[in-house]
Symmetry: C2
Subunit: 397 residues, 2 copies
């Protein structure tokens, strides 16, 4: 029997770019193509001790069904941390739900807010996983150019004035994926004002918020939100570990209540064992100290990558040093399509993602390349950048 798929899923085509990213199974391959945190940052020993304790004393509740809102003590810890440390969730009606990663926060947000045919505005380029989660509800994506200071708010304003179908603005204000851009404070305030004026919600995706290596933190959009127009999506993937699939959505109560209903029918609740474990981690250990250690590791890797690029690729590429996050965004000086470079790089056993993979219309070309510096160690970064330079040289011949 031939299945008749839904319109929403038929529209989600695997990208041609993904073929480039299919990694050969080669231990010598160095990948800058991932978005993974480094296992060197996983607090495995402490987590192991907590797991042993839970299996011994509390398995009866930790392995049982839980509630869709999330494990109450973890919700409390997380709410307190976000509010006290970052000013996020100060409004009386703000609530939060524990999700299976920020990815699920985005998906649930789409499920409760979007109808087929709605328009969603986003930075262009942006995070493919989020764009596809939005697309999976049959919406139209409107790409707003992403500048060095993030979303182009003049272009956004034009769009909102001429297009009354916009329902949601999806943005990564801190260390945007893939560009690394940070939205300045005045732009954050302006974005919120625009959203209010045009009665459009904002989905703030904030997975890298705590991974700042230089400069001063800016308040998140949610911290600036007085009217309840911002839905905040956060993650434990970069501060604890991604394999446990834990994240958070924080928004006004009516939105969170609907997300709870949607989560209940999606997966009932997120893995309860690790919700309890992360709660105890936060209670017993110093999460800030742990995050400071992550920052130190990543800052050093970023600097190593930037140094290696300066050594080998200044004649071919330009780049900004990102103040945080996991990626460097490099542009080919001559404006060539970066797909050829990424294809050739594979021959030299190094992987990078061509910028076109992040475009709202990924059939367009891009002269940018995204390089991840969190997963490979410093030795691998140095070798990988050298190989990338060789690949670039071989193309110029």
């Amino acid at each position: 029997m031939q299945p008749n798929f839904s319109r929403r899923i038929s529209a989600l085509q695997p990208s041609a770019i993904r073929e480039i990213l299919k990694a050969p199974d080669d231990p010598d391959l160095i990948t800058f193509a991932a978005g993974n945190p480094s296992p060197d940052t996983f607090p495995a020993e402490k987590m192991g001790n907590l797991a042993a304790e839970i299996f011994e004393k509390d398995y009866a509740s930790a392995l049982q069904y839980g509630i869709s809102e999330g494990y109450e003590p973890l919700r409390r810890d997380t709410a307190a941390r976000l509010r006290e440390k970052h000013g996020i969730g100060r409004r009386e009606t703000d609530q939060l739900i524990i999700t299976s990663g920020a990815q699920q926060a985005i998906e649930l947000c789409a499920k409760v807010l979007l109808n087929e045919g709605d328009t969603i505005l986003c930075e262009d380029p942006s995070f493919i996983g989020a764009l596809n989660a939005l697309r999976s509800y049959g919406v139209t994506l409107g790409g707003i150019p992403c500048m060095e200071d993030g979303m182009d708010l003049d272009a956004l304003e034009e769009y909102l004035k001429s297009n009354k179908n916009a329902k949601l603005i999806y943005t990564i204000p801190d260390f945007q994926n893939p560009t690394g851009a940070v939205m300045p404070l005045k732009n954050r305030l302006k974005l919120i004002e625009l959203a209010q004026t045009h009665n459009v919600m904002i989905l703030e995706d904030s997975p890298y918020f705590e991974l700042r290596y230089d400069g001063k933190s800016l308040p998140s959009l949610k911290a600036l939100d007085e009217s309840g127009c911002v839905i905040y999506a956060g993650s434990f993937s970069k501060t604890i570990a991604p394999g446990i699939r834990l994240g958070v959505a924080l928004a006004s109560q009516p939105i969170i209540q609907k997300m709870v209903v949607a989560k209940q029918v999606s997966d009932v609740h997120s893995n309860l064992f690790f919700q309890i474990l992360v709660h105890r981690y936060i209670e017993r250990y110093d999460l800030d100290e742990h995050i400071a250690r992550c920052r130190k590791i990543y800052k050093s890797r970023r600097d190593t990558m930037s140094g290696a690029l300066s050594c080998h690729l200044t004649s071919k590429l330009t780049w900004q040093i990102p103040q945080g996050g996991l990626f460097m965004w490099c542009k080919l000086r001559q404006g060539e399509d970066s797909a050829a470079l990424c294809q050739m790089a594979k021959e030299y056993k190094v992987m990078a993602v061509p910028g076109s993979a992040f475009l709202v219309n990924d059939s367009l070309s891009s002269h940018a390349v995204r390089l991840n510096f969190s997963l490979p160690n410093e030795e691998a970064i140095k070798i990988g950048i050298k190989r990338l330079a060789q690949a670039a040289d071989s193309l110029s011949v």
Copy 2:
């Protein structure tokens, strides 16, 4: 700002029945209202040993991102077990995906197959969690009466002949929730024939399949499926533990491929640590021996409940002894609405779910009550049934 919710989520209203189910926080309360397995069945010690080993030696991969299809060795184990032990997945094009519980298998199936306005047929009454997952894609549910031998296939055939909008049949052929009904072999074959004739897919929800206490196992619908019309949803919740949120969907390759795309945007993948842990459990220990132990515990609880009902409630209730699963389905002899009994039961510190909670149209009344016998121990079952009898007596006055 007032959010404008999607049509699909606006249609999902919390049921009035849920108010009855809000448990007072009273340690003396006995609940027959849950659907939980017993913590006495959780293999916590073995799981703890495996967890310690993973945290020590394999944390770098177990805490990292994984692939949306699921951890390859667990997929292999699960496919082998389903095929060799149960004949499920014998078709060359059958594939499987690891999901966050059977709930997510159902949700992903809905997401990839259903458009707003499609009609889905299901047993009436049926499992609310699945009905709501289907409803969350804006479909119309057509309830087919559930008899002692499961879905009324004459009624189904009538419906299919007169209604060309049907897209999917949702069924729990083994120990149906809430009725405990088992679909006989000839009905299974007939159901598949009807699905093929009318070009409708079948979603087989099979969480209790391995929890049979009497009689001989019947082949699952998927084991009888030659044409690829059946999508099988299974769960580790009742055979290992529900808090880890692991399940499986098995179907023809094109369907699983779309479910992988949908899962990628939903939660990227299920908790990888526990996928590895369950794989090692299956590899190292005897899962069948463990399941035999679960069956022994539950059979004894079922018999205790049935005995207590015979002692105290024969004048008020009728029931069949279910051959498996977690529930007894009892009907008030005089055909009264069971909501009053469940409401009164709370006064006597015992909780049960009125049958109306499981109806496709839950504003109708029902004279049935669902009693769970897996969670309370035998002592609690005896006391709880006595209390239920007192509640019933107090209503008759």
